[in-house]
Symmetry: C2
Subunit: 420 residues, 2 copies
C-alpha cells in the first residue's frame, strides 16, 4: 500500500487550513481549552471522524476519541493523535499536526481497506496546553490518574471550576481519581509532534525519535508589597512589589543559565506570566503574582534550582519590606519512552529511507502522561527556526506527511507483531 | 458667621459615604474617567449642585461646573473644587475631599446668606488621574490650553478616542487648541486635597500650604524580544523581553534612589504599569510595554535621570538580543504656587488657630495646570500613614472640615480685597 506523500500532503494542508480559521480573531492563533473556538474545533473534528466512518466517544477525562474498530473481537487498541488546543497567540502546528496526521493515517488505512488485528483510536487529548487552572495535559493526566481533587477544584479568573468544565464537555470528573480502564488494553500510544526546537532543521534530519521528556514543574510566586501614590511615597519608604519581582526574574534567569551551562542535560526556566496589581502608572505596585516554569531532565539539577531559589527568597524576606511566597502548583515527572517502541520507530524510519535522530524532548507532551501507564513513544518532525508557541510557528506539510508514513509503517509493524 | 466644625463634618461624611458607593463593585474604589460609575458620580454631583441652587454647566474641556452667581454684575470668579475620578483600586479621599469641601463651603455661604463680590465656582476637573490615554488632568490641561492633537487623538484599549469622549460628556474638543476664555476672569483657583504623604500627620500639623508641584514626566518603554516555547528554547538562545524589562525596572529604581539621596529635592520614579505579551506561563515573553512615571522638583535631577537611563538603554540595545524603545508620552512642568495666595492661606490658617506648614507637593494636581494661566494655590490636609492611590487611603472628616474653614476664610479675605 504505497503512501503517497504528495496526495497526503495536500489532505494535511487542507485540514490545517480548516483549523487555523478556528481562532480568536483578535489574537491568532488562539484556541484555548473550553473556549468557544475550542468547542467549534471539537465539532469540526467530530465531523472529520464521521467522514472517516469512525465511532465517536468522549471519555471520562474529556478526550475526544475516534475509533476504527478491528473486525477481530478484541479490546486491544493502538492510540494516535495529539491535541487541538493552543496557547494564547500560539501557532498552527503544535498539537494540530499530530491530530491531522492521525486523520491522514486513518484515511490511508480506510482507502486501502487495510484490516488491523487491533482497534485504532485517534485522540484529541483535552487541554494539553497550560491553562488558567495552572495545569496542562488535562486529558492525558486524566487517563493516567494524575489529576487530583486539588487540581479539579481550581477556578479560573471567571470562576469556572475545572471539573465542571470537564463534565460539560462530556467527561465525568468523579471517575478521575484513578487511571482509566482503557490503559489495560493499550498496545501502544504513538504521537507525532513538531520538534519545537532547531535540531532536526539544523542537521537536516527527517524524523526525531523521542527518548525522554523532561520533568515540568510550575511554581506560583506571590510578592506582597504596599501599593501607594507614585508621586508622594519617597524612594526609601517604598515596598514596591514589582521591583522585588524583577529581582526574582533576574535571579531565576541567571540561575537557569548557570545550571544549564554546567550540566549536559536539558534545563530551562522561564517566567512567562506576571500579573501586577493594580497595574496603573501612578501607583506603586502592591502585589505581583507570577508563574515559574521549570523543565529538567536531571532531578539533581531540578533540586539544585529549587534549593537555591528558596534560599534567595528567604534572604529577600529577611531583608526586604516585600514578602515573597512560592507555591508548587504543578509537576510532571521526567519520563523515558518505551524502548521497544523507540527501536520500532527507528526501524520504520530506516526502512522508509528517512534520516532519524534519537533525541530528548524539551517540551512536555501528552505522551509523557501516557508513558506512566502504557507503552508510549513519539516522533518529532522539523519546524522552522525552532519557533513554537508563537504565530510564526511553521512546519512543512510534506514533513508531516513523512511522519505520517512512519506512523503507518509502525502500525503495519505492530500489526505483524500482534499476528505472530 | 461661625463655621461649625462638627455640623460640617457630618455633612462631609454623608457626601463621602454617598460617593464611595459609586465604585466598580469588584475593585473598590474605582471610578475611572468616562466609566459608567464616573457618569453616575457626575449625575450625583449635578444633583448636589441643584440642591445648593447653583447654575450648572460643562465647559469645553468637559469640566462640570456649579456656579454661585454674585449679585454684582461681574465676570470675576474664584474657583474651588478638585476631581471625582479615581485611579483603579484607589481611595475615597483623593480629589473627592476637595470637591466635597467645595460643596460644604458653598452650603455654608448659602445658609448664612453671604454676598460675594465675585462669582464662586466649584469645579469637578475632568479626569485628573492618569488614564488609558496616557495623560492626566484632562480638564485642567484643557483650561490651560495644554492638550494637543497628539493627546486628543489617542485611543484607549477599547478603541475610544479621547476627544470623542470629551465631546460625549459635554465638552468641545475643537476649542481646546488654546486656553479657555475663563482664564481672564479668574481671581484665584483654590484646591483642597489630602496630602498623600506623611509630613502633616507625623508633625501633627493641621494645614499644609503648597509652595510647588513637581514636574511629572511619563515615558513608554517597549522591549521587543522573541516569543517562543518555554520548554524547548535553550537558555542561551533566548531573547526574553521580561528578563530585559526586569533589568530596566531594577535600574530605574536604583537610579531614582541614588538621585533622590544625593539631592535635597523631591525626586521619585516608578514603573507601576507593565504589560507582558502573550503573558502565558509556557511562552517566553516576546514583548513588554511599561510606563515610567517620574516626578522631580529639580530640572537638573530630571535631566540626569533621563540621560543616564538613555545611556543604559543604548548599552542594552548594543549588547542584547532584545531591543528597547523609550518614548516621551506626557509632561507637566514644575510649577510654583501664587505667592500672594500662599501668604493669604497662611494668614487664614493662623487667624483660625490652625498650625500650618508651607511645603512642596509630591503629587501632581489640577492646580499645577491652572497655575500656568491664573493665580492658583492649594492646601493639604493630613491623611493616614501617607497612604493614597490604594483602598487604605483615609482622612478624618474633621480635618476636611478644618480645611474647608480655611477656604471659607480665604473667600472672605478675597472678598474684602476685592471690595477695597
Amino acid at each position: 500500500m504505497t503512501f503517497n506523500i504528495d496526495l497526503n500532503s495536500s489532505y494535511i494542508e487542507n485540514k490545517i487550513n480548516d483549523l487555523e480559521k478556528l481562532t480568536d480573531e483578535d489574537r491568532p492563533y488562539t484556541r484555548l481549552v473550553f473556549s468557544e473556538k475550542f468547542y467549534e474545533a471539537r465539532s469540526w473534528l467530530s465531523e472529520q471522524f464521521n467522514l472517516l466512518g469512525l465511532s465517536i466517544t468522549t471519555d471520562e477525562a474529556g478526550n475526544l476519541i475516534g475509533l476504527l474498530k478491528s473486525k477481530k473481537d478484541t479490546n486491544k487498541v493502538v492510540i494516535v493523535g495529539s491535541h487541538i488546543d493552543t496557547v494564547p497567540s500560539g501557532g498552527r502546528y503544535d498539537g494540530t499536526a499530530g491530530v491531522i496526521s492521525g486523520l491522514c493515517l486513518i484515511k490511508h488505512i480506510k482507502e486501502n481497506n487495510i484490516e488491523l488485528p487491533f482497534n485504532l483510536a485517534i485522540y484529541d487529548y483535552l487541554g494539553e496546553e497550560l491553562n488558567e487552572w495552572g495545569t496542562s495535559c488535562i486529558g492525558s493526566r486524566g487517563i493516567a490518574g494524575a489529576l487530583n481533587e486539588d487540581i479539579l477544584s481550581r477556578q479560573n479568573s471567571s470562576g469556572q471550576i475545572l471539573k465542571e468544565e470537564i463534565n460539560k464537555i462530556g467527561g465525568n470528573a468523579k471517575l478521575l481519581n484513578k487511571p482509566l480502564p482503557v490503559i489495560k488494553n493499550i498496545l501502544a500510544c504513538l504521537e507525532l509532534h513538531i520538534e519545537q526546537g532547531k535540531i532536526l532543521e539544523d542537521r537536516k534530519i527527517d524524523i526525531g525519535i523521542v527518548k525522554s521528556i523532561p520533568s515540568i514543574s510550575r511554581f506560583k510566586v506571590t510578592v506582597t508589597g504596599q501599593a501607594g501614590h507614585s508621586g508622594t511615597i519617597l524612594m526609601n519608604q517604598r515596598a514596591d512589589a514589582l521591583v522585588t519581582a524583577s529581582e526574582i526574574i533576574t535571579f531565576v534567569n541567571k540561575l537557569a543559565l548557570k545550571i544549564s551551562k554546567n550540566s549536559n542535560q536539558h534545563f530551562v526556566s522561564t517566567i512567562g506570566k506576571i500579573d501586577v496589581h493594580p497595574n496603573s502608572a501612578a501607583i506603586i505596585p502592591g502585589l505581583v503574582e507570577m508563574t515559574i516554569d521549570l523543565r529538567a531532565t536531571s532531578q539533581n539539577s531540578r533540586q539544585e534550582f529549587i534549593n537555591t531559589l528558596e534560599q534567595k527568597i528567604s534572604s529577600i524576606n529577611e531583608n526586604n519590606d516585600c514578602k515573597i511566597k512560592m507555591k508548587d502548583i504543578a509537576f510532571a515527572p521526567f519520563v523515558e519512552m518505551d524502548k521497544e517502541l523507540i527501536a520500532l520507530f527507528k526501524k520504520s524510519s530506516d526502512s522508509l529511507g528517512f534520516s532519524s535522530n534519537i533525541m530528548n524532548s524539551g517540551a512536555g507532551h501528552d505522551t509523557a502522561q501516557l508513558s506512566r501507564v502504557a507503552p508510549a513513544a513519539m516522533i518529532f518532525i522539523p519546524c522552522k527556526d525552532g519557533l513554537s508557541h508563537c504565530p510564526e510557528e511553521y512546519a512543512e506539510v510534506s514533513d508531516i506527511a513523512k511522519g505520517t508514513e512512519v506512523l503507518y509503517n509502525m502500525i503495519e509493524n505492530l500489526a505483524n507483531l500482534s499476528l505472530t
